[in-house]
């Protein structure tokens, strides 16, 4: 006898204008299970989640909750139906406290307490609110202070607040949309414990992740989607990772073949010497040569992005030097870094890499305006020429080059950021998490692109949290831990274990 089915969605379809985001979505969630939902970006996972969240209404399909047919007219209806959605980056109210965030719109009231007035007391009972919040955090095993202001909480803690909110609502179905994408390893472990606690309480957890190892570590069943359609559902134990990837992409991915390096690295281009920024990183020295891809590995929070930002001049550093081709860069000056030939693809493409409301072509041209300028004016024709050139070379899938970049999928947005920098023909390219949140197919394209660039003589510095990427793409691996460079591994010597143990400090590896 299988456990109770809490939620069932069949043949769900949803189109946005001409774009068919979901053609035949299907999901079945049982009490006490952790159910993985995997698929490439654009497979329709997000649309399915938003249907469950009541944000989108499906054009077709049937939804049953506890065996009864249901329609979710809005987020409030989904909430009332016992469905809670934890987004990758929770949208909390930064100005409100943790407890207020959990109970917003339904704070406990003091209730009617036989006073002189017969009116019910509609005032918020702050003490009760904080007690209830603390009780829930206790149940989750995470000691968060209910009275603290939400602004300044880590993403992991923000997720816990959202999960606490779900519990306070007695949600039976908890949807987690890529919750681990921005978490460190320790935070992921804590989240897993929380998810197991939810499962033990009989909730159904829908867990969306790009990391297959998480699916196998945490989930009971798995559903694979591709191109807006349901592909398969089954027990996780019945599949291997290769099975799932095959189902996701609908084709066999070739084994990662070792990259053919064109006769070893050339001259040293980027030299970083004893770079230190108080509280962020200490005494970081390394070089990157022309034609070389160097990976900067480590846990989230080890200071890798901070180093990259300091090299590019976004952040100031307290000591040390950065030289490109022998010339020392001016401190805290991106202009000087760009003039020296550095390109920087930041971690957060939406906030830092792109101007979301501007068109694809304007975004691509953004870093090359000096070159496109004639008598102080930007020529639309040359801007367009440059953009269409790069769109073709990187296979950017967009309707028109004049469409706002916000309408593109994540993978294509990342290609736009890459095109923006490649248009400057950089000598050094720094890429920070180049494939985060990108589907498997585009990921491979980005990897190939980086390899091509290296072959053309670009010095590439890549920050990545994904070990297969680190091991598969780079020639040399630098590992950071707590703001220091703790290991340097040649491609041949590098294994997942070696990188991980250096990053976590379980074993000293001489730097």
């Amino acid at each position: 006898m299988s456990p109770a089915v809490l939620l069932e969605l069949r043949h769900a379809a949803k189109a946005f204008g001409a774009v068919r985001a979901l053609a035949d979505g299907e999901i079945e969630l049982r009490a006490g299970e952790v159910h993985a939902l995997v698929g490439e970006n654009g497979a329709g996972k997000s649309t399915l989640v938003k249907i469950l969240a009541g944000v989108h209404q499906p054009d077709a399909g049937a939804l049953a909750i506890n065996g009864r047919e249901a329609r979710l007219h809005g987020p409030a209806a989904a909430r009332d139906a016992g469905i809670a959605v934890i987004y990758q980056e929770p949208a909390l109210f930064g100005d409100l406290t943790v407890a207020e965030n959990m109970f917003v719109g339904r704070q406990p009231l003091r209730g009617a307490r036989g006073g002189r007035f017969r009116l019910p007391d509609r005032r918020i009972d702050r003490a009760a609110m904080h007690d209830q919040a603390a009780e829930i955090f206790g149940r989750l095993g995470v000691p968060l202070d209910p009275a603290v202001i939400a602004r300044g909480l880590s993403i992991a803690d923000q997720q816990v607040v959202e999960i606490g909110k779900a519990l306070s609502l007695d949600a039976r179905v908890i949807v987690m949309d890529e919750p681990t994408a921005a978490l460190s390893a320790a935070e992921v472990d804590r989240l897993f414990d929380v998810v197991r606690a939810l499962k033990a309480h009989g909730a159904a957890v829908l867990f969306i992740s790009h990391r297959l190892e998480e699916v196998f570590a945490l989930c009971d069943r798995v559903t694979v989607m591709r191109d807006g359609r349901h592909v398969l559902t089954g027990d996780v134990g019945d599949f291997t990772p290769a099975d799932l990837v095959r189902a996701m992409v609908g084709r066999e991915l070739a084994e990662r073949e070792p990259r053919a390096t064109g006769g070893g690295p050339g001259e040293t281009v980027l030299r970083v010497e004893r770079l230190t920024r108080e509280g962020a990183f200490t005494d970081v020295s390394f070089t990157v040569a022309a034609g070389e891809i160097v990976a900067l590995a480590g846990l989230v929070g080890a200071g890798r992005s901070e180093v990259a930002r300091a090299i590019f001049g976004i952040d100031r550093y307290d000591a040390g030097a950065v030289t490109v081709g022998g010339a020392k860069l001016k401190r805290a000056s991106p202009t000087s870094a760009m003039a020296a030939g550095i390109g920087f693809v930041p971690e957060d493409r939406r906030q830092q890499g792109l101007v979301m409301d501007m068109s694809v072509q304007q975004n691509v041209a953004l870093a090359s305006l000096g070159r496109l300028r004639k008598a102080g004016l930007i020529r639309a024709a040359s801007e367009r020429g440059m953009a269409s050139d790069w769109a073709a070379r990187l296979a950017i899938a967009c309707g028109r080059l004049t469409d706002p970049v916000a309408t593109l999928s994540g993978g294509n947005q990342q290609k736009v950021v890459l095109a923006k920098w490649l248009g400057r023909r950089p000598a050094v390219l720094i890429v920070d998490e180049p494939t985060r949140g990108i589907d498997v197919g585009t990921k491979a394209e980005v990897h190939r692109l980086l390899a091509d660039l290296a072959r053309e003589g670009v010095a590439v510095l890549m920050i990545s949290s994904e070990l297969p990427e680190v091991l598969g793409v780079s020639d040399r691996i630098l590992v950071m831990r707590e703001g220091r460079l703790v290991a340097e591994l040649a491609r041949e010597r590098a294994t997942e274990e070696a990188v991980m143990s250096a990053a976590m400090g379980t074993r000293e590896v001489p730097a």
């Binding site: 944000v55 809005g74 109210f93 100005d95 339904r106």
Partner: protein, 336 residues
């Protein structure tokens, strides 16, 4: 203590303005001893009432990440129409006139609310338009005429002059209203909803808060309060023409910001905003008493606005940094 940290930051905001106020009063009083006489204090308090009331309504709107630019025009229209009720009907009852002013303001506020919440038009644009439209209607009605003190009953003109133990009645009444407003925003769900909406309108919608209804209510309240303030204005000045309240919106918004309300919503309070209004009135009176050109009034005010915003940014950044630091320090202390 994390709660203490947050509370302290909030207290800093309001205590900052109290310090500025105290310094101003102290410096002025040391130069010109008569500054602190009863008549002067009463004058400043009465002068504050209109602005403090307007600041109450504006604060509710600003907290929800909106702005109401039409309050000056609403005040003008309400001041003229309510005062002209006395003309020809010398028997018009004073409370009735206040009711009329409130109604006129409410009508203006409802129009703003419908356009902002219903039409989803940015409030900056909507209320900029209604600023001109309401002023236009006012000019159309008033023409070249004006209501003079002579045509107003003494009982009406006495309102701002009545005192209890040296404190003007209106100041007490407005203080009570501000207190109620502050209590409402702190302890009622609909009040907290305004903060949530201003903090993140998107998240507020996702959580299922009635965003439109709350914003609509805030504008309605702001309009109604501006209408009420119009009647008070008429009683205070006695002479009302078509330019009453011109430019008040910017003074009120700056008082609100100086009082610690975040211009992009989400934080701040009514008490701070009212203190901002008090500071505004104090400065202009102090300069007058000191015999300094009124030009400096605006220059000093602008300077204070800059200081307030800069301080707000600095405190905000520092608070975030402090919270972050505390968080990173937490894990070692954690397992308890």
């Amino acid at each position: 203590m994390p709660g203490g940290l947050a509370a302290r930051a909030l207290r800093i905001r309001e205590s900052g303005i109290v310090v500025v106020l105290a310094v101003f009063v102290a410096v002025t009083a040391s130069v010109q001893h008569r500054f602190l006489n009863a008549a002067n204090i009463q004058f400043v308090l009465v002068d504050t009432t209109v602005f403090a009331l307007l600041a109450l309504g504006e604060t509710m709107v600003v907290i929800s990440r909106n702005v109401d630019l039409s309050i000056g025009s609403t005040l003008g229209l309400s001041a003229y129409l309510s005062a002209s009720l006395f003309q020809g009907h010398s028997g018009a009852v004073v409370p009735l006139v206040f009711g009329a002013g409130l109604g006129i303001g409410l009508a203006c506020g409802l129009a703003n609310g419908v356009l902002v919440a219903g039409g989803r038009v940015p409030s900056l644009v909507v209320t900029l338009a209604t600023l001109y439209i309401i002023r236009g209607i006012d000019i159309l009605i008033v023409g070249g005429k004006e209501v003079t003190a002579a045509s107003l009953p003494a009982s009406f003109l006495q309102i701002p002059k009545a005192t209890v133990g040296g404190v003007p009645d209106v100041a007490i009444a407005v203080a009570v209203v501000i207190g109620i407003g502050a209590y409402y925003l702190r302890t009622f769900r609909s009040g907290r909803d305004l903060y949530a909406i201003g903090s993140s309108p998107q998240a507020a919608r996702l959580v299922g808060l009635p965003v439109g209804r709350r914003v609509f209510t805030a504008f309605a309240a702001s309009g109604a309060i501006a209408g009420l303030a119009g009647v008070l204005w008429a009683a205070q000045y006695g002479t009302v023409n078509s330019s009453a309240g011109t430019g008040y919106e910017l003074q009120v918004i700056s008082a609100v910001v100086v009082g610690g309300v975040a211009i992009f919503g989400g934080s701040g309070g009514v008490v701070g905003a009212a203190l901002g209004a008090l500071l505004l009135a104090t400065i202009s009176t102090a300069l007058y008493v000191l015999g300094i050109s009124p030009f400096w009034d605006q220059a000093i005010w602008g300077f204070l606005l800059l200081v307030a915003i800069t301080l707000d940014q600095a405190i905000g950044a520092r608070l975030t940094a402090a919270l972050r630091r505390r968080r990173t320090r937490e894990p070692p202390e954690g397992p308890s």
